[in-house]
Symmetry: C2
Subunit: 525 residues, 2 copies
Amino acid sequence: MEFGTLVHMHGISLVGYQRGGARGPSFQAINPATGAALEPAFRTAAPEDVERAAQLAAAAALDYGRRSGAEKGAFLRAIAANLEAAAPALVERAASETALPPARLQGEAARTCNQLRLFAELVEKGSWVDARLDRAQERASGPRKPDLRSLLRPVGPVAVFGSSNFPLAFSVAGGDTASALAAGNPVVVKAHPAHPGTSELAGQAIVSAARDCGLPEGVFSLLFDAGIDVGVALVQHPLIRAVGFTGSLAAGRRLMDLAAARPEPIPVFAEMSSVNPVFILPRALQSRSGAIASGLHASVTLGAGQFCTKPGLVMLDHGAEAFVAELAALMQQPAAFTLLTPGIARGYQTGARERAAHPAVRALTPPAAAGVTAPALFQTDAAGFLAHPALAEEIFGPATLLVRHGGLSELLAVARSLRGHLTATVHGTEEDLREYADLLPILETRVGRLVLNGFPTGVEVTHAMVHGGPYPATSDGRSTSVGTQAILRFVRPVCYQDWPAFALPPELQDGNPLGIERHLDGVLE
Amino acid sequence: MEFGTLVHMHGISLVGYQRGGARGPSFQAINPATGAALEPAFRTAAPEDVERAAQLAAAAALDYGRRSGAEKGAFLRAIAANLEAAAPALVERAASETALPPARLQGEAARTCNQLRLFAELVEKGSWVDARLDRAQERASGPRKPDLRSLLRPVGPVAVFGSSNFPLAFSVAGGDTASALAAGNPVVVKAHPAHPGTSELAGQAIVSAARDCGLPEGVFSLLFDAGIDVGVALVQHPLIRAVGFTGSLAAGRRLMDLAAARPEPIPVFAEMSSVNPVFILPRALQSRSGAIASGLHASVTLGAGQFCTKPGLVMLDHGAEAFVAELAALMQQPAAFTLLTPGIARGYQTGARERAAHPAVRALTPPAAAGVTAPALFQTDAAGFLAHPALAEEIFGPATLLVRHGGLSELLAVARSLRGHLTATVHGTEEDLREYADLLPILETRVGRLVLNGFPTGVEVTHAMVHGGPYPATSDGRSTSVGTQAILRFVRPVCYQDWPAFALPPELQDGNPLGIERHLDGVLE
């Protein structure tokens, strides 16, 4: 594949360094703003494409998994450079396929490249492998204590499912792929059918980088399917060792169940459903009512409310009438949104209609015209919320639910009722935090990230970021899909007992030739 | 409970600081050496005992999970001190219940206490929480980058299933309990029905330590059941957040399936089935034939072959006749073993008989008399091994299978056919290792620990130890159940965005009041 071909789409799966077969049914992306079908048609990957991608990935794993941090870093940087070169085409195509604004997509492209370079830096530095050396030791009685050295090694081929709402940063070349490749794993991506063109362009950038870096064929493949067969086959394939997924709870749970039912179960890291509760405490509300209302409105409607960290649940006491009126006014500002797909738009409109009709709910925004996506603000009280678990469920789109409560004990009861979320947010002064001190320990057990006096949308890609949370926010609350800790999903510790230097990975050799952080008998070297 | 009562058994579950109900059916331990039933009778925990243990654990989690490393360390050290005080009674009872020799059990008691103290030291030092601080930063455009700080927090109540073969070190106060408590999680143990008395004595040591340390009731409970109902109820209980298990593949897989089918799936860390392949390369065999034969014989028969790291598969080339004869002679030395339970003995005797009768296998030891447990040595060739996957399955007891091969390519084919194991062992000279260099990369993907010129039995409790491996060795090859890394099974990362010092855990406060290792913007402070 020539670099110059990066901006042309062929509509055919990328299986290692070759194109897949072209005998399956085809499908086209739909421009959600116009309803028009976009060229070209994309061919569903054939079963032999899936098989070949998995076989190539398994064969590549033995080679790629032992490449140095420098080599993996160069690969990730080459992908970023290729994406940057293709960015105008990527953004144009993604805008057509998702109706996301070009400016937002430009930012997302930059984020995607930064993310790849952050993982490059991580593996180039190399300390992430958690190298541990426990020295041999003679003992008064019994055999000598052996020399033991451990580090984190790649798990093997990873299947990645792109998400619809971040067609770049959480899709083909997004966080799951970047972290799996950084860890030393080949990746097989199942392209999201809502943005196949964007997927192909990003996939070409990765394949081109892999070739340029002299990596084994199979370190990356990209498979198309408008349905579920290819994804199911991937998750069930014996050579696939882990799964990364971002999408709906229903689809994520389905993949979890498939993976758990395999003869050899494998881990699934699915980021699924989060309502991101916000707790606005009284003194903060008094002092910053306007700023909180405008910030909340911006956060709920950002990206047409299609962020996994959208605040969908807001706890307020009964005295907050002025704030509620202000927020309701903001939510009624004229604005029509185009959601990512016709299906998501229908889902949102139905969800909002049903919530407005819920007996425990009052709608604070007028009903939208049929087929129109408009922001929606709902209200219930703590008793209603606690009595109706369905009110805690996510509506994907620009809607949020206020839960009015009668003070600390009701607020804590609401907090205790929460399932797992990606984030929880508190708006509070220092005095608020001391008065509501019992809230934080509860929230800590429910979410991956606790935000103070801010808004949960906007997920930084850093070392301390946790974009995870207990089920159903994710399939495994012990993980994050954003930030450098995401690499820890796709590795396993391996211990070497009494091996000589020449047979050990350099990370574990005497003299620390890579100069990484290591623990010697439990003490940092 | 008085400390003086530690050495008396009551046969009743310990539910928090109280005794459970006593209305269920009862069972007794059997002395496997004599077949005699041992006093007292043990009552099966009632459903309300399970419910109360889970509720107490969940209530305790909020308090115990926020205790300092110093407090958790003091608790673990108090448990160790109580176990040491009770050691004579523990060893005597365990010897009656398991037929393991007192000297071995004394060693196991010491290991159990050392393990508790190693985790105490880990949490007292505190650096294990992987504290990460990413500083706030103004940006040229857009909002400021927030202050993000993360650390590892406990997952919540953990259910632990003790194993039969290590009635102390992998049972009530064993590695799973020690690592879960160290992480800050309450523990509910389902006692192994083969050593209920040992379990009760160890459980009393923990309860007494918890009271003395002023910890909340529910930080520990111990439930008895000769059947599976209590274990199933625990794994399905919504307040249980993770499971630790050591035992058979069938039982472990059952628990995995139950946990995966929950409305909210939880992780199961099951250490199950491993055959621990040994590769004896030609030059090592030439130079150390006698030492390898006697070492292998000792390792296969250690603890009557009831170690999860017992070498059950030995790859040798066709030229190794003298070694095979020597090993066969050692395996025929007069020795009768008493296995842990009558059921395990029957399973071993049946397994050995069936393997001897397998068409691809030749028995190199004579058949044992009916009802007698004797060491058994079997032999097949690479073709036979590859054609019959059943030959790769574990026989729990003092048996091993030699696989004779025709050189490098057959050896690599055998290695590639392996499923997951806890360990793989290589005996080789430097020249061997260079000639067989392709072996190590394959084995790295199959096991948690690679042993050179030693034997896999004997699992050190250190920082670099990995006692784990891909399925079916464990349920999750990304974990270890021995060594300080075992604590990582029972924690999850939590991120704090823009919180002031007073509301942050001390591990994340400015100035590093605990003086732990931390990463500031990715760089070790």
